[in-house]
């Protein structure tokens, strides 16, 4: 893996540009690497939870990655793309601090940034005018249907996802 500081600072830009080219990633669960982006393709190798990989490309729900000397396809949801590893935000602070130091333009706590924190929410006063604007912009079901048709969207029958048996989180993040 490359230098953490460098990758962390360039990563967000890479992702925003939609390029998955050679960004680091971490495997979130024991998984297989397939020779094609399909679970019916032959498995090229196995990777363990926590393994570092390099993400080369993305296709639908699959990522093309390199793990050690092996290259193959892995499920998108089995990887955390980026330099955060399995770490929670608490541990990842190190990366954030390093980024800030190495690249002043990435200091994100900028004055004048319009945030939305708990104090602002708590003290918020009912805004009837904005609510009326919101109501006025609502779209009817018929309008939504023609919007969908214009984009070639067709309704599909898809079953709900079951709650996983053990939702063992990748990280512990008790404080939040």
């Amino acid at each position: 893996m490359k230098n953490n500081v460098l990758t962390a600072s360039t990563l967000a830009l890479c992702l925003l540009a939609g390029t998955a080219a050679a960004t680091p990633g971490t495997v979130l669960r024991d998984e297989k690497l397939y020779s094609q982006p399909s679970a019916s393709a032959p498995a090229a190798a196995s990777v363990s939870k926590g393994a570092n990989i390099t993400v080369l490309a993305k296709q639908g729900g699959w990522l093309r990655v390199t793990s050690g000397r092996t290259t193959g396809w892995i499920r998108l949801l089995s990887v955390r793309v980026g330099g955060g590893g399995l770490a929670s935000v608490g541990v990842g602070d190190v990366v954030g601090a390093a980024t800030t130091r190495s690249d002043p333009s990435k200091v994100v706590a900028v004055a004048g940034l319009r945030g939305l924190n708990d104090e602002e929410l708590k003290g918020a006063q009912f805004n009837a005018e904005e609510l009326a604007r919101l109501d006025a912009m609502a779209v009817s079901q018929a309008q939504a249907r023609s919007f969908a048709a214009a984009g070639g969207l067709a309704s599909a029958q898809i079953r709900f996802l079951p709650k996983p048996q053990s939702s063992q989180p990748a990280t512990s993040w008790e404080d939040n």
Binding site: L16, R29, R114, K122, Q125, F126, R133, A144
Partner: protein
């Protein structure tokens, strides 16, 4: 709190029906005052560190009790508490609650003054909501003029994303995934359940009598101060559930199902100290945990689902 509710219901079940309506207010007031006194005592006994770092997510009621100073002894509005206690909220009550929360939220952040953007988000949102099992709600969608990265849902079908989150998106499928997650909070009535858990405290809380135009004082009393319910957050399981359901809603609407996972990936890659995500991370599990939990649920179930990304049609902010 749960024990108190059970006690209360038991208490009332014992009283004759005719007298119940009459004495309800007084009865509730007595019980609640007892509870408050108990809590005051236990708070004094508890040491500060134990309160600051609960090992497990505490129920919403306990959180707000720990966070706010002892509630002022206000006169109890029996009707209001009654409607929080008995059965489900009606659709009309749900709409009133949602409207009040949405109006307050818009007091903290206005809508982005871009009619084309707002219309686009309503078109995508309304289409996804038609696949949610609650198409009868008056769904309204808005982009809030805030650099924070967050999204909000209020009962009755009010959905908001911030400009900061919108800027992270790359396609209509990603927008559909985010809106699907928020729509799922509404269909699963996550905030209404939260309100039910904490309504006894909320009703007695410090909510200032709100004289703002068109504001609903009874509902405001129920939801606490301003839009603080939006800052309180739901439990982790509710967020994981909204991810699972939201992904399915977007896919049912014909979108590529990987929109929401892609947004979670992008959020997981943001610097940890990014102030734009401070409230998001306070109220949501870490995106890496959400990816992991969603992955465990999805497995191979979406392998044969083909949908549209529509990145070409995605409305990009200037």
């Amino acid at each position: 709190m749960r024990a108190a509710l059970a006690l209360l219901l038991l208490f009332m079940a014992g009283s004759p029906l005719s007298a119940q309506a009459f004495d309800l207010g007084k009865l509730l007031e007595e019980r609640i005052n007892q509870e408050l006194e108990k809590r005051d005592k236990s708070r004094q006994q508890q040491s500060a560190p134990a309160q600051a770092a609960p090992a497990q997510p505490a129920p919403a009621g306990a959180q707000s009790a720990a966070a706010s100073p002892p509630p002022a002894r206000q006169k109890v509005d029996a009707a209001q508490i009654g409607f929080a206690l008995f059965g489900d909220y009606s659709l009309e009550e749900e709409n009133r609650i949602g409207r009040q929360i949405a109006g307050n939220l818009l007091g903290a952040a206005r809508l982005v003054p871009d009619a084309a953007l707002q219309r686009y988000v309503n078109e995508v949102g309304q289409w996804v909501a038609q696949h949610s099992g609650r198409p009868e709600l008056s769904w309204r969608f808005g982009v809030l003029d805030s650099d924070a990265i967050n999204a909000f849902a209020a009962p009755g079908g009010y959905i908001f994303v911030t400009r900061g989150l919108y800027r992270l998106l790359n396609s209509e499928a990603e927008l559909a995934g985010v809106l699907g997650h928020e729509i799922a909070h509404v269909t699963q009535k996550h905030h209404l359940k939260l309100l039910k858990q904490s309504s006894l405290i909320g009703a007695l809380g410090q909510a200032a009598s709100n004289k703002v135009k068109d504001s609903d004082p009874a509902i405001q009393n129920l939801i606490g101060n301003g839009a603080e319910i939006m800052a309180r957050g739901l439990d982790k399981e509710a967020e994981f559930e909204a991810d699972r359901i939201g992904m399915v809603y977007a896919a049912r609407a014909g979108y590529d199902p990987w929109g929401l996972p892609n947004v979670l990936q992008d959020m997981a890659a943001l610097p940890a100290k990014d102030s734009r995500t401070s409230l998001l991370y306070k109220t949501h599990p870490h995106p890496a945990d959400r990816l992991s939990a969603l992955g465990a649920a999805v497995g191979d179930r979406m392998d044969n689902v083909r949908g549209k990304e529509l990145s070409g049609r995605f409305y990009r902010l200037p």
